[in-house]
């Protein structure tokens, strides 16, 4: 029997979801993700640095045909910003899967659960597939 992870009808060979932060450069990011064997790669959405002459883009290194790109809302502290970020990510054309995080505390990065729930309700209504960042709370998770 083949083992796979299924999310909203899509099957993934690897259960590992890897991040893209803290690497030295995009080339290193790419190599690490290749070696990891992961199918899903999470990325952040940020303002383009207008004055930065370095025009390399993360998606030049991660082929969206090869990996499922999972945009996250890291750095969002309220439901409105998180929803806006998800809409922007969807417009970039990488699908409807999003990792929703609404940060409640700067130091611990614990989530703001009511705000996360509020954002999730809006996003689900808009057709997003929401993977929320929450505590182990089966009641909210429903």
């Amino acid at each position: 029997m083949e083992d796979f992870l299924e999310i909203a009808g899509n099957k993934y060979r690897s259960r590992l979801i890897v991040g893209t932060g803290k690497y030295k450069d995009f080339a290193e990011t790419k190599r690490a993700i290749e070696v990891s064997g992961a199918d899903i790669v999470t990325v952040a959405v940020r303002r383009v640095n207008i004055t930065d002459p370095n025009k390399e883009n993360l998606l030049d290194y991660l082929d969206p045909k090869k990996y499922t790109i999972l945009p996250n809302t890291a750095g969002c502290y309220n439901a409105d910003d998180a929803v806006r970020t998800c809409r922007l990510a969807r417009e970039a054309g990488v699908g409807k899967l999003v990792k929703l995080e609404v940060i409640g505390d700067d130091k611990t990065l614990f989530p703001d659960i009511p705000a996360t729930l509020e954002a999730a309700k809006i996003l689900v209504k808009e057709g997003f597939i929401v993977l929320p960042y929450i505590n182990d709370d089966p009641i909210t998770a429903k």
């Binding site: 383009v48 998606l59 990510a89």
Partner: protein
């Protein structure tokens, strides 16, 4: 040459990624991206909190006071 030309354009102020910027009047979203040397295929543009879809970048003219956000994917999370 660029300095001389500037005399003939009316400048307007917009907010670009949170910072005030003077741009020439009559510039479209596509024109602005070109000036900034940003590849349209890799970014998403939000104008006054509404997403501007890629197909209308050329037809979307900027006006005084517009607030633009140009975002892309970066490592993180």
């Amino acid at each position: 040459m660029a300095v001389a030309n500037a005399v003939f354009f009316i400048n307007m102020k917009i907010k670009l990624n949170g910072e005030e910027k003077d741009i020439a009047d009559g510039v479209s979203v596509a024109g602005l991206l070109e000036q900034l040397q940003i590849r349209p295929a890799r970014v998403v543009v939000e104008r006054n909190r509404d997403i501007v879809s890629r197909e209308v970048y050329g037809a979307t003219m900027l006006v005084e006071g517009d607030a633009l956000e140009i975002v892309h994917f970066v490592g993180g999370g």
